[in-house]
């Protein structure tokens, strides 16, 4: 296991960061060939994982256990175990829901949109970004389910013919949410899985135990790597990418409708859909960074997730951060310009009222701290970058919290209140991270963390035969993945 120190991070960073206009920067560094790429990625899945994995997994499982116990407590007693009250009828569960849905954005964005835009650098990070998406959506899906007062009846949200002769209320944004998140989860899962099929075949072929052979074999759907397989695979992947792309924008737009369609001052704003999408991408990218930086170090993926990848993501983070800042500014401007006293008060109260501290945490984390990323030197300091990414995640959680706190003071002053989370609220927030990391660590342990086949396509060896005699000897391994060896 490599020790994570600033020094060796800096060394690695110098490899492919220089911009030479005459040639593209390499997307895979080090002395990597096709076989070593395969070996690097499958190593973790097929061999005993490092000790850090066990420690991390233990902690995650403990937190997941906490979440489980708290959910049981919730079911047995009632949703009053949270701090929710009248007027703040939505509290941490909805904050956590929106937060996790937002995290779930970057994966599909990286996979689908960057794929369609032919951003080849995405190959190093797309797989686990997608995995992160799926797990974030799992966390997100949990909260609305347990949030309702009678959760054993939550299935009434689904339109199905029933003895009550009742449809759900199609005018309600919460119902749109059910559809939007459901669709997004389905498509993301399909996209992730379909993209993983060739790599699952690689794992199947390299698996040593019987159970693994069977499980990976089933998951690989009989992939043999024939030309026809590849052709269809690529077509399907392209189509799914095209299908997933609008969903990236739609999911969080719909989630924002939960707020924008209502008439609570501070919620009822037309800027919410783009604002939410920008915020989601912001938070999602921050989470990818926060996960990628330690993962590449611990799992020896530094050659595949190169400093250039990290740098690119940092730039995107900065860019999206500016969009989010702009959205905050616009919101305040419109509140002033719109001359609605209710809305004006909502924003003054947000910043200077009883819960103003939350607003300033949000602004600091989302607007001020990312400005550090203007500087290349700071961007390349992975410790600092990781810190920024975590800060953005904190800031994005607070953004949703601040939105929820608009409920504290709406139209009738006699009903103003204050929201105070209970220990159960806190425990469930922490526990949701347990759920997320448990799933993520299982993914690291058993599935290919980097898209092996895709990475190979962006290696120079992949372009053998294009006038370069160097790569003439081509062998094909059992999985059909071309295994080029430099003579």
């Amino acid at each position: 296991m490599t020790t994570l120190t600033p020094d060796n991070l800096q060394d690695a960073a110098s490899a492919n960061l220089a911009d030479d206009p005459r040639r593209r920067a390499p997307l895979v560094t080090g002395d990597q060939d096709f076989a070593s790429v395969t070996e690097t990625v499958t190593h973790l899945a097929l061999r005993k994982p490092p000790r850090a994995w066990y420690i991390a997994f233990g902690i995650s499982m403990a937190l997941l256990g906490l979440l489980g116990v708290l959910i049981l407590y919730l079911i047995l007693s009632g949703v009053g175990v949270w701090g929710n009250n009248q007027p703040v009828a939505w509290g941490f569960p909805i904050v956590n829901f929106v937060f996790w849905v937002g995290i779930g954005h970057a994966g599909t964005l990286i996979s689908a949109i960057l794929f369609l835009f032919r951003q080849n650098w995405r190959t190093g990070i797309n797989r686990f970004a997608e995995a992160m998406t799926i797990f974030a959506v799992v966390c997100a899906g949990l909260f609305p389910g347990i949030h309702v007062g009678r959760l054993w009846l939550a299935y009434w949200l689904v339109p199905y013919p029933n003895q009550m002769a009742m449809w759900p209320n199609f005018r309600s944004p919460l119902l749109w949410d059910v559809f939007a998140v459901g669709t997004y989860a389905t498509v993301s899962l399909l996209f992730w899985y379909v993209g993983m099929i060739p790599d699952l075949a690689t794992l199947r072929d390299r698996a040593t135990t019987k159970i693994r052979k069977i499980v990976y074999g089933l998951l690989a759907l009989g992939w043999r790597g024939s030309n026809r397989h590849w052709q269809r695979f690529e077509k399907a992947y392209l189509l799914l990418a095209a299908l997933a792309t609008p969903l990236v924008l739609s999911v969080h737009s719909v989630v924002s409708f939960d707020f924008a369609v209502s008439q609570v001052p501070g919620w009822h704003t037309t800027i919410f859909p783009p604002y939410f999408v920008a915020g989601a991408i912001f938070g999602g990218f921050a989470m990818v960074l926060a996960l990628a930086i330690p993962a590449r170090q611990w799992f020896g993926l530094k050659d595949l997730i190169t400093p250039r990848h990290v740098d690119n993501m940092a730039k995107i983070l900065l860019g999206v951060g500016l969009m989010v800042t702009y959205a905050y500014a616009t919101e305040v401007f419109i509140a002033w310009y719109g001359q609605s006293p209710n809305e004006q008060f909502a924003f003054i109260n947000r910043a200077f009222g009883q819960s103003g501290w939350a607003y300033w945490v949000m602004v600091t984390c989302n607007c001020f701290i990312p400005q550090l990323l203007w500087f290349g030197k700071l961007r390349r300091n992975l410790w600092l970058l990781w810190g920024v990414a975590v800060a953005v995640n904190v800031g994005m959680w607070f953004e949703r919290f601040v939105i929820i706190l608009s409920l504290e003071r709406d139209f009738v002053p006699s009903s103003w209140g204050q929201f105070m989370p209970t220990w159960v609220d806190m425990g469930m927030l922490v526990g949701s991270f347990g759920l997320f990391f448990t799933l993520f660590l299982l993914f690291c342990r058993y599935l290919p963390m980097v898209a092996i086949a895709e990475v190979k396509t962006v290696m120079p060896q992949a372009h053998a035969g294009h006038g370069d005699k160097q790569y003439d000897d081509v062998e094909t391994d059992e999985s059909g993945t071309a295994d080029y060896r430099i003579p």
């Binding site: 407590y73 079911i75 047995l76 007693s77 009632g78 949703v79 009053g80 175990v81 929710n84 009250n85 009248q86 007027p87 703040v88 009828a89 939505w90 309702v148 007062g149 009678r150 959760l151 054993w152 299935y155 009434w156 949200l157 199905y160 029933n162 003895q163 009550m164 009742m166 449809w167 759900p168 209320n169 005018r171 309600s172 919460l174 059910v178 939960d258 369609v261 209502s262 008439q263 609570v264 006293p341 008060f345 003054i348 109260n349 200077f352 009222g353 009883q354 409920l407 003071r409 709406d410 139209f411 009738v412 002053p413 006699s414 009903s415 103003w416 209140g417 204050q418 209970t422 159960v424």
Partner: protein, 1026 residues
């Protein structure tokens, strides 16, 4: 399967050769192609009837598979199991489930509150006022209404308890009977020496008659009357003597007065006759018919009456005494008063001879001054009349060395300022007749369960003396067949002591016997029983010609810096309601505190003492033989007089069941009234005060906004501005339509009703009676102090109280605004519910479907009035005073309700669903009453008893409106242009709250009118206070 459709080719084939195609449908027809022929044969292309009719294996499996799966989903619902037990022989004239109403009366502190009680299937469930009785006219105060909960208190005393030494054993009535017979025989030998009865104040003619009998039997016994609230709303009223022999009781006529001056008298709420007074006061304040009296209030703390005042002065009790004195001098020809308040009062009333009214307070000697002033102004006999006070002697001491002490009701040991507890423990034998065990019964040998007034026969007199018969609606709940257990009434106890054998008929027999002179025959008896009163039985009016003696000298000593004023509590009174959850959780009308009492301090004093909201302070009160130390949390109240700290009685009970024990701070060692404070100091940590409004100290941003917003929510005007509408700044300007869509289609024919409500802020005193009425009617649970502090109170109807004016000065105005679901025509809640659990009905009601609600709480977020309430737990089951974990229920969640105490369940209104946890709820406009009236109208119409099946105006009264003494709440049908609500909605004073949101509320409010010369922009206060 298209081939399976058989068609007769020969018939459909056009025989062109015979007729020739006159018209052709297409070129193909003309061409008579094969394809066209096939197309014509298949009349509905794409329709395959076999799909629906023909048996087909694949389809059968597909349909069945889907059905099974969906049936599985439907099967997720568990249906609650209920048992039905039909009558084997139904009592004659009894219809199960039918509501029946009986007149009765509740006696509290010696004054009857006439009632009409609703019973269903033999259990009383709801208390309202007796519409035929002048003291009620349909309204009941909150105590009377909440007393139904006392009936079903599971922690009531159920059986006779006998204490010997330290041992307490369960005993029986017959054991007590045997013991008491022996005691009585012994006492009779001594002519009753050493026998003392300490009774609650009572006006019951039967009890008084039995008392006389007892007195005859034991001539040397002592019968003392004990009430904790001594000079407050007690039957004495006017505290001076006429010819040194009889005390007088003043009866005010607020509807006849043009200018009313209240000298620290909270007559709109803390008065035994408050219901009648509130009604008459409101009748005299109608700005629309030109009869608008002016109310001037001088008081030390903010009271309900103070909040209704046109002009209110805050003054310490000593200054109030001085004002009273100075006014007296001024009217006797003295020069201008030193005190500007006194002078301004003088200026206001001097020209209103015979039409003004001075209402004296209960502290100091205002009563005498007031009588004199009213005499000078010629008001006596006009706006105020006097009757003899029936019972004058409230005990001020209890003799030492008692042999046998009989305590009838009350809680003398808790009211311990004259060491009553020592006297009780000092007695050789002690007997206590009580509803529930309290501090007093802890000291007694025999603790006897007392029957609730709805369980026993009795009689009592209202404030004006009218006799009402108290008739039982249910047998004593915990009574067993031989009457060994369960409650007995005072009458039954006294009859038992007089040697009678107590049977179920004893009470009835005695009451009839007592009322024989008034009700000689069965007919008159039945009529009085039905009407709830004996006509013309009120006390005779007496004319007071000569001035009486002053019983005590006014204590005018300006040197006192701080005083502690102790008042009866708006919710708990003297503490007798401490184990009543509804009243504990009822917000104080002014402070909105629940489950606590606090030290009310003026903002200026708070600065001076360097204390804020929730700080605990130590107060030392000067008393002989030793000073009394108290700890109290601070509540900073605008409008409180400087130098006065006010708090209330009734809290800090140590033995008051699971509800009342340990709630608040005890004032037991001090009696009601004014006490000198020797020292005040700040003490340790903060104390959590739970309030239903202004949950915590407010920041500057919020305070400014609240100030601005209150001006939109509460509209006020001076009488002059109102009567001259051209100067009206809030008048109806051009109405800009807020929507481009027309009225929604309500179906054809349009429904007969458009339900709506009107609330008159000019009449609402904030007395809370409606809040309790709503709670009783709609099975609303209590949640406990911690849950209220979190903001989870369940009251469907709340009363918002707003202050206006400069909080630092004493000139602060208060307005009450009852707030419940506004039944918006364009309701924001309905649009956002994902499962359509809150929907609109054709009559305009915003309907809440509990069964369908899954509890997303989105509706509550989107409700601009924040009137929706959510069952965060099963509050009927969860103990109110324990943490969240106490709500854990193992088993199906909808079975949790089975754990509700069976005795408590008896109070539930069977027409209203008892909501389980996870469900949203809110005001329904009492939809059950609407349905009831509609069904009755329809049935009567079909029976030919009425012309139209349409409910007439006034036939439906929601629980809140029914009990409102001032008639501030009016409900009705907008479709009927002549209904009261239609007229009120089109009245000039009517306005929508948050109308700018275009939610189109069906509830409209009516402006508050203040009878003052000038109100500097009173609707837009600069600052408001927490």
């Amino acid at each position: 399967m298209k081939n399976a459709v058989t068609t007769d080719h020969r018939q459909s084939e056009p025989d062109t050769r015979q007729t020739g195609p006159a018209y052709w449908r297409s070129l193909e027809e003309l061409a008579e192609t094969e394809q066209f022929r096939a197309f014509v044969e298949n009349e509905f292309p794409g329709y395959e009837p076999e799909q629906f009719t023909g048996p087909n294996r694949r389809q059968f499996l597909a349909v069945m598979g889907a059905s099974m799966m969906l049936a599985g989903l439907s099967g997720c619902r568990r249906w609650p199991r209920r048992k039905l037990a039909p009558y084997t022989a139904r009592p004659e004239g009894f219809v199960p489930g039918k509501f029946e109403r009986y007149a009765t009366a509740y006696e509290m502190a010696g004054v009857a509150k006439p009632l009409l009680v609703t019973a269903v299937d033999g259990r009383p469930i709801k208390i309202e006022g007796n519409p035929d009785h002048p003291a009620s006219r349909g309204a009941a105060d909150l105590y009377a209404q909440a007393s139904i909960l006392d009936l079903y208190n599971p922690h009531r005393l159920q059986y006779v308890k006998h204490r010997t030494g330290d041992k307490v054993a369960e005993s029986t009535w017959s054991a007590f009977g045997k013991w008491s017979a022996e005691r009585m025989a012994e006492l009779e030998k001594k002519q009753g020496v050493g026998f003392v009865v300490l009774s609650e104040a009572t006006s019951s003619p039967t009890v008084l008659r039995l008392r006389e009998q007892l007195q005859n039997k034991l001539p040397k016994m002592q019968w003392l009357t004990w009430e904790a609230v001594h000079k407050g709303p007690n039957p004495i009223g006017l505290d001076f003597e006429e010819s040194m022999t009889k005390l007088l009781r003043p009866i005010y006529h607020f509807d006849k007065a043009e200018v009313i001056v209240s000298i620290d008298n909270d007559f709109l709420m803390m008065h035994p006759n408050a219901v009648q007074y509130a009604r008459e006061f409101a009748a005299g304040r109608n700005p629309d018919n030109g009869r608008m009296s002016k109310l001037i209030v001088v008081e030390s703390t903010y009271t309900v009456t103070g909040s209704m005042a046109d002009v209110r002065y805050a003054a310490s009790p000593y200054r109030i005494n001085a004002i009273s004195e100075q006014l007296h001098k001024r009217f006797n020809g003295g020069g201008p008063c030193e005190d500007e308040v006194a002078e301004s009062i003088y200026q206001s009333i001097k020209d209103h001879r015979g039409t003004s009214l001075i209402v004296p307070g209960f502290y100091g000697s205002h009563a005498l001054q007031a009588w004199k002033l009213n005499q000078l102004l010629g008001n006596n006999g006009k706006t105020v009349t006097y009757t003899r006070n029936p019972d004058s002697s409230i005990a001020s001491t209890i003799p030492d060395g008692i042999d046998t002490l009989l305590l009838i009701g009350g809680n003398a040991a808790h009211d311990d300022w004259i060491r009553t507890s020592e006297r009780i423990s000092g007695a050789r034998h002690t007997i206590h007749l009580t509803h529930a065990e309290n501090e007093t019964s802890q000291l007694c040998d025999w603790v006897l369960p007392r029957a609730h007034y709805l369980e026993a026969w009795g009689d009592c007199r209202s404030y004006d003396g009218t006799i009402s018969i108290t008739q039982p609606l249910i047998h004593p709940i915990f009574e067993d067949a031989p009457r060994e257990q369960g409650g007995r009434s005072v009458i039954e106890l006294l009859a038992g002591l007089l040697g009678e054998k107590v049977t179920r008929d004893t009470g009835h027999k005695h009451v009839r016997q007592t009322l024989k002179p008034q009700l000689p025959d069965e007919k008159t008896w039945r009529k009085s029983l039905h009407d709830g009163l004996i006509a013309d039985s009120q006390f005779k009016t007496v004319v007071v010609a000569k001035e009486g003696q002053r019983p005590e000298t006014p204590n005018v000593d300006a040197d006192f810096k701080w005083v502690l004023q102790i008042r009866p509590d708006y919710s708990l009174y003297d503490g007798r309601f401490a184990d009543n959850g509804w009243l504990q959780e009822l917000p104080d009308p002014i402070t909105k505190i629940v489950w606590d009492n606090a030290a009310l301090v003026s903002p200026a004093d708070a600065k001076k003492l360097d204390v804020e909201h929730g700080d605990l302070i130590n107060i030392e009160v000067a008393k002989v033989p030793e000073n009394i130390k108290l700890a109290l949390p601070v509540y900073v109240l605008p409008g409180q007089a400087d130098g006065v700290i006010t708090t209330t009685l009734g809290y800090g009970r140590t033995v008051a069941g699971p509800v009342g024990t340990g709630v608040g701070f005890s004032m037991a060692r001090l009696r009601e009234g004014v006490h000198e404070i020797t020292s005040i100091s700040k003490k340790g940590p903060k104390y959590k005060l739970a309030t239903t409004q202004d949950h915590h100290a407010i920041d500057i941003v919020g305070m400014r906004r609240r100030g601005a917003k209150v001006g939109e929510l509460i509209r006020e005007q001076t009488l002059h501005d109102y009567q001259h509408p051209h100067e009206d700044h809030h008048g109806h300007g051009t109405t800009v339509p807020l929507t481009m869509f027309g009225e929604p289609d309500l179906g054809d024919p349009e429904p007969d009703y458009r339900w709506a409500m009107s609330i008159d802020l000019n009449k609402c005193t904030g007395c809370n009676a409606c809040v309790i009425a709503c709670q009783a009617e709609n099975n609303i649970p209590i949640v406990g102090k911690d849950e209220v502090a979190m903001g989870r109170e369940m009251h469907w109807l709340r009363i918002d109280r707003y202050f206006a004016g400069d909080a630092e000065s004493a000139d602060v105005r208060a307005v009450h605004q009852p707030m419940m679901c506004q039944h918006c025509e364009d309701a924001p809640c309905e649009q956002v519910c994902p499962v359509a659990a809150t929907v609109h009905d054709a009559e305009g009601l915003n309907v809440m479907v509990y069964n369908r609600c899954i509890g997303t709480r989105y509706c509550s977020n989107n409700c601009p009035y924040k009137v929706r309430r959510f069952n965060y737990f099963d509050y009927h089951v969860k103990p109110h005073n324990e943490g969240h974990a106490s709500a854990i229920h193992l088993g199906p969640p909808d079975a949790q309700q089975h754990k509700i105490d069976p005795v408590r369940q008896m109070q539930f209104n069977p027409q209203v669903t008892v909501r389980m946890r996870g469900v949203m709820e809110k005001c329904t406009y009492c939809t059950q009453r609407i349905q009831d009236a509609k069904i009755t109208a329809k049935v009567e119409h079909e029976q030919g008893k009425r012309e139209s099946a349409i409910v007439r105006d006034g036939e439906i009264t929601p629980a809140c409106a029914a009990t409102c003494a001032t008639g501030a709440i009016v409900f009705g049908n907008l479709k009927d242009k002549n209904s009261r609500v239609s007229k009120l909605h089109h009245q000039q004073r009517s306005y929508d709250i948050l109308g700018e949101l275009n939610v189109q509320p069906r509830t409209k409010y009516m402006k508050r009118i203040r009878n003052v010369e000038k109100m500097e922009d009173r609707t837009l206060p600069n600052e408001d206070h927490a």
